[in-house]
């Protein structure tokens, strides 16, 4: 999958080719033009929309171009809990997915090296969730973990859960859903780096009397850093903007709505386009800031 390819590009230094030719321009132009038209200009129109004011005589959903920066103050005061929740949920889900995926990726990429077929079949199982609709997977969990389900009634029977407690509709359920849905995005890049891990480094460290824990902390982890960075980004970014898991018809409830839910509601239901646009710009800016600081600190700057 491309996510594996994405992880690969982090470690291979790119060589700039020598050849210069007008052919390059012909090859680049259509695709680049397409991205300018359908990626870059939409971002600009999002920015313009975020400053729009309601038109004086218009109906609901009619806006005119203005420079109403108060829109931003308004959405932050209205939706601060949603904004904070999104980044909090995404952060927790990313950490959980990393803890879940690392041993799994290590087993597939290092321990199972001797059996290439088993290795590739296990990888197929890791990406298998991609083959079934994201929304149906999430709904399946909603049913499996509903109040009447076998798992929840058993937990209540052995008093591990209070009799009147719920799981679906809570923040924990949303975090669970985000973690489950983005695990493959974490496991694949981790696998790609661990699969190429030179085991002689680990041997050398233990020959020098390093404790296994120390070997792991000082050799294995630093060598798998490109995979960790790619995996955490591929999990954190979509998780922060997701609104399916937190939707009330899926795993969310009234106190677990995220920024994506508010953007969707403002854009598609309330027709408050400026508010939806301002929230989108905030979401994107915060993510770009977090990503650039994180990538710099993790020391892998050649992401693409």
């Amino acid at each position: 999958m491309a996510f594996a390819a994405f992880a690969t590009t982090t470690s291979e230094a790119e060589q700039v080719p020598r050849r210069k030719s007008p052919v390059a321009l012909l090859l680049l132009l259509p695709g680049i033009l397409y991205l300018v038209l359908f990626f870059l200009t939409p971002l600009v129109s999002l920015l313009l929309t975020s400053f729009q004011a309601p038109s004086e005589f218009g109906d609901i959903g009619q806006y005119t171009y203005a420079f109403r920066w108060e829109n931003y103050v308004q959405v932050v005061t209205d939706y601060l809990p949603h904004i904070l929740r999104s980044f909090g949920f995404a952060l927790i889900a990313t950490v959980l997915a990393l803890v879940f995926s690392y041993p799994l990726a290590y087993f597939i990429g290092v321990t199972a090296r001797r059996w290439p077929l088993a290795q590739s079949l296990m990888l197929v199982l890791v990406i298998a969730p991609f083959f079934i609709s994201f929304l149906l997977r999430t709904l399946a969990w909603k049913q499996i973990l509903s109040d009447e389900s076998f798992i929840i009634t058993s937990l209540k029977a052995v008093a591990l859960m209070a009799p009147d407690a719920h799981f679906t509709g809570t923040p924990a359920a949303v975090i669970f859903g985000l973690t489950y849905n983005f695990i493959p995005f974490m496991t694949l890049p981790l696998y790609t780096t661990l699969e190429r891990l030179d085991l002689r480094y680990l041997e050398a460290a233990s020959d020098l009397y390093a404790h296994p824990v120390e070997v792991f902390r000082k050799v294995t982890i630093p060598l798998s850093m490109p995979g960790i960075v790619a995996g955490t980004l591929l999990t954190f970014i979509p998780a922060a903007g997701d609104y399916v898991n937190a939707s009330r018809d899926f795993l969310g409830g009234p106190d677990s709505q995220m920024i994506g839910n508010v953007i969707e509601a403002n854009f598609l239901v309330l027709q408050n386009y400026p508010a939806a646009a301002a929230l989108s710009i905030i979401l994107m800016s915060v993510i770009l800031i977090i990503v650039s600081i994180y990538v710099k600190r993790a020391g892998t700057e050649e992401l693409l």
Binding site: V16, P17, V23, L46, L123, A128, R137, V244, Y273
Partner: protein, 268 residues
């Protein structure tokens, strides 16, 4: 002695982790055989009925949504694969100005949350006055697939030996002949992988689609809309069938690749 527990811990964990990943898939599959009425929540007994009459529920709404998803996926895949492959060749083969700008423009769509991509395009279509329908969905899907195509095909172009094309030119092949008979066949596995990925991304996309679809229903959108009033078992049938098909394609590709590697190892 000390290692015996440690030796088993990791494999056991890996098996349990993989089983955990399978749970909702198995659930969806089992409930495609449920003899359900309106909503498909409680088990009411086994039936093959839903598999045999997929298109008969709600005037074929499930199948219509599925058909839309197939059309959108096919068109967006062809467009994104063509545009992305051209960019990938240019990046690996040629020197040009604004190289880092081009790289950034390709990286950003992958680093932007889908809800922002979706809302941005919707805001643009709104301000230009374009009605939202199948075309706007295809335009949106092509956009987010291009970067993934470039990343996938780039690796393949980079591993291509330029000497092969040089040999073609030395034998008086025209640039068109060299491309069609040497470059393109050698790039084909990478291009096919990119196309499969694009199709998968497009087929399962909900967030961007939801902002740009207007009244058109795709398969994921159908599920989202029906989630509040119960999803018919027919949706599980469609999803399970797609799952099995995808699994067969990927597993047979892996097994044949492993067999080929074994043959090569023996002969070499």
């Amino acid at each position: 002695m000390k290692l015996s527990l440690g030796r088993w811990l990791l494999p056991v964990y890996a098996v349990l982790a993989l089983l955990f990943l399978m749970v909702p898939i198995v659930y969806t599959f089992i409930f495609s055989f449920n003899d359900s009425q309106k909503s498909n929540i409680t088990w009411r007994g086994f039936t093959l009925d839903k598999w045999l009459n997929v298109c008969n529920v709600q005037n074929g709404a499930v199948c219509e949504a599925f058909g839309n998803s197939l059309i959108i996926g096919a068109v967006a895949t062809v467009a994104a694969t063509a545009l992305g492959t051209m960019i990938a060749i240019a990046i690996v083969r040629y020197r040009f100005r604004f190289r880092s700008g081009v790289s950034l423009l390709l990286f950003l769509p992958m680093a932007t949350p889908e809800v922002v991509l979706g809302a941005g395009l919707a805001a643009q279509f709104l301000s230009v006055g374009v009605p939202k329908d199948m075309v706007t969905i295809i335009l949106a899907h092509t956009m987010f697939c291009i970067s993934f195509v470039v990343v996938t095909v780039k690796a393949r172009v980079a591993s291509l030996d330029p000497a092969l094309e040089e040999a073609g030119r030395d034998l008086y092949g025209s640039p068109g002949q060299v491309f069609l008979r040497i470059t393109f066949p050698l790039l084909l596995p990478g291009i096919l992988a990119a196309a499969l990925l694009s199709f998968a991304l497009s087929f399962d996309d909900f967030i961007i689609t939801n902002f740009n679809s207007g009244a058109v229903t795709t398969f994921p959108k159908y599920i989202y809309i029906s989630a509040s009033r119960g999803i018919p078992a027919e949706a599980n049938v469609v999803a399970s069938a797609v799952f099995i098909l995808a699994l067969v394609i990927v597993v047979s590709a892996q097994v044949s690749a492993a067999a080929r590697a074994k043959r090569l190892a023996k002969s070499g």
